[in-house]
Symmetry: C2
Subunit: 344 residues, 2 copies
DNA sequence: ATTAGCACTCAAGCAAGATGAGTGCTAACC
DNA sequence: GGTTAGCACTCATCTTGCTTGAGTGCTAAT
């Protein structure tokens, strides 16, 4: 009962959606009658629309208003009807490639460029370093009872962690510890550092075993602690451009969500484990993984910069967002990101 | 013509302000007549209010509405009439002291606590490290042609900078460089590292002089680059609680300002150079240093954590914000911050 | 100097049309 | 049978006029 949408119904539905995307107003039969090349009178369109309503693709906000697409219609549109328009997106590339070393700056920039280019709000999450290898480790005595641990992971992600110690360590001890830890841990993935290895290291460190313990904690914390889920947002104010989102309660909620980035983290990581598809996911309305966004649509893309270094980009806008353009922008942006970074 | 506000006028003005702060509605003569202990009829109040209007302290939003205070009245209020109520602020202290080592986390927390506690939006700028001393410097070879420079400044602010080199440096060279730089630079303030010293160091480094140059650049960049002006915001959505700010255009502008943190930087640093006063500044309406905030009031406080380590906290709300409470909260928060960190 | 009283103003709320976009249905048409 | 013209109906939105009530300013009396 749902697959049978004949060609004409599809055309009409498509017209309704496109029209609504542009205007944001309910669209009526007369408009469609003129808008399409079907040369049908408004009455015929009305009959068809009536059918489409029954099938759950469009609804009237109130009797005798035009129809607006439902989530289901958007879903159909995104899955089957969308033809990408790859215009003017090329310019994005130029904006990105400049300071290629500082990862965080680049990502902030990505968020910004996408926000201004699409006129929606964007969220970029920094790469998850899960599964990545330890590249370098350095302990330094900063003063009598503070040690600075610098941890560098593949992809040049750097973490600092301060460790308090009670005893003052000599230079030789520091040197020994550094050599010990580097020789044993460098090149290992996090999963490969197991408990056995840790206890072995502690033994070798002798009386300074507890420091090794602290260092290991620091490594663990630095790498998989919540802090590593750096998130950059941009264009939050864009939501004011869409009346259906900018009534006070909703706007407030959305802005709040943007500040409380933890909810966004969920959104970002949700589908990170999914493989297979092109990496672009579209969530429409209630499909969105975050409650506050049930009146929005969210388009997410996952980028991969190397062994297990995966982050994601999300664009949040009204349900009637310009899916074509967003998906296009997102795709070029991702490619560009991967191109710039993959050489590492 | 302006100093002469007799005692009664002051009392009435005070009553008007307090009442307006609470309700947000224009306040009329009858209300005041009951609200104060002056035992005057509404008619008398009317006469006095008429005078006050002429003197520019209150205005009517339209004929036959009550009066609301002008910027000038707020200014008078803040300068002379405010008596601090230091209740319930104490609880703030508890919320703050927990993870005392990670400066950025603490500041984020400060922003958050203040925002939830006052119901206004807050901005906290991380300390300017200008004038601070270099505590520790470490160069490490991360791979063939990348060197990681870790720079620790007094107050345990840590910066990482990647340096690309063309030649691969030997372990001994690295060690030498480290010793050279640390012995000469540690303990110095930025201003004390002058050009003469730099060329001297370069000479001593011999063929690796250019690396020294890069390191110095990194130090300079890391410490006084714009990046060091880390800014934390919280409670942006609080502005939706005040109708006079939450109409779409204004809200959008404010949110935008919050995202474009550079404007806030200006606000934060503006009065950093001023000395003398308690460190708390109140900007009312047009006095605010940022255009987008001309309908708000901004209360800023400067905290000082040691030699020249100064940051600032700002609270942004409607003109009718509860100045007493805000100033109180801000003051305890600052004291607490300084107490926790000054022992370093 | 203070107050009571009264006329006046004006935002805001409400009810009663007027408007118009859009629908559903029926009967006629090809 | 599919298509269309025509018409009655619905309902959000706009307009208009009316009422209400808070609040003022002024004047005359205390």
């Amino acid at each position: 009962m749902q697959a049978e949408l004949d060609e004409r119904k599809k055309k009409i539905l498509h017209a309704v959606i496109r029209n609504y995307l542009e205007t944001g107003e309910p669209v009526g039969s007369r408009t469609i009658s003129k808008y399409t090349d079907l040369n049908l009178s408004s009455a015929t369109i009305r009959n068809e629309m009536s059918d489409l309503e029954e099938l759950g693709y469009i609804v009237q906000p109130h009797t005798s208003a035009g129809r607006i697409p439902t989530d289901r219609a958007y879903r159909l549109y995104v899955d089957n009807m969308m033809q990408e328009k790859d215009k003017e997106i090329e310019e994005l590339k130029g904006l990105l490639v400049q300071t290629e070393d500082k990862m965080d700056k680049v990502l902030k920039n990505v968020a910004k460029v996408l926000a201004t280019n699409t006129n929606y709000a964007t969220v970029v999450s920094a790469p998850q370093i899960r599964g990545n290898r330890l590249k370098f480790l350095q302990l330094s005595r900063v003063d009598e009872n503070q040690i600075l641990a610098v941890i560098v992971v593949e992809g040049n992600v750097i973490r600092n962690e301060m460790i308090h110690v009670n005893e003052t360590l000599s230079d030789e001890t520091m040197l020994k510890l550094n050599i010990l830890l580097n020789t044993h841990l460098t090149g290992l993935a996090l999963e490969e550092i197991n408990l056995g290895m840790i206890t072995a290291l502690k033994e070798q460190a002798g009386i300074h075993g507890d420091i090794v313990g602290e260092v290991m904690d620091a490594i663990a914390q630095a790498i998989k602690g919540e802090e590593d889920l750096e998130i950059y947002t941009s264009g939050a104010n864009n939501i004011f451009k869409y009346p259906e989102l900018s009534d006070n309660r909703k706007a407030s909620e959305l802005i709040n969500t943007f500040e409380e980035k933890k909810a966004l983290a969920k959104l970002a990581t949700e589908k990170l484990s999914d493989e297979g598809n092109t990496g672009i996911q579209v969530y429409i309305g209630e499909e969105a993984p975050v409650q506050a966004m049930k009146d929005c649509s969210v388009v997410t893309a996952t980028y991969e910069l190397g062994e297990g270094m995966r982050g994601s980009i999300a664009i949040i806008g009204p349900k009637r967002m310009d899916y074509d353009k967003v998906v296009g922008s997102l795709r070029t942006m991702m490619n560009e990101l991967e191109r710039v970074y993959k050489k590492d």
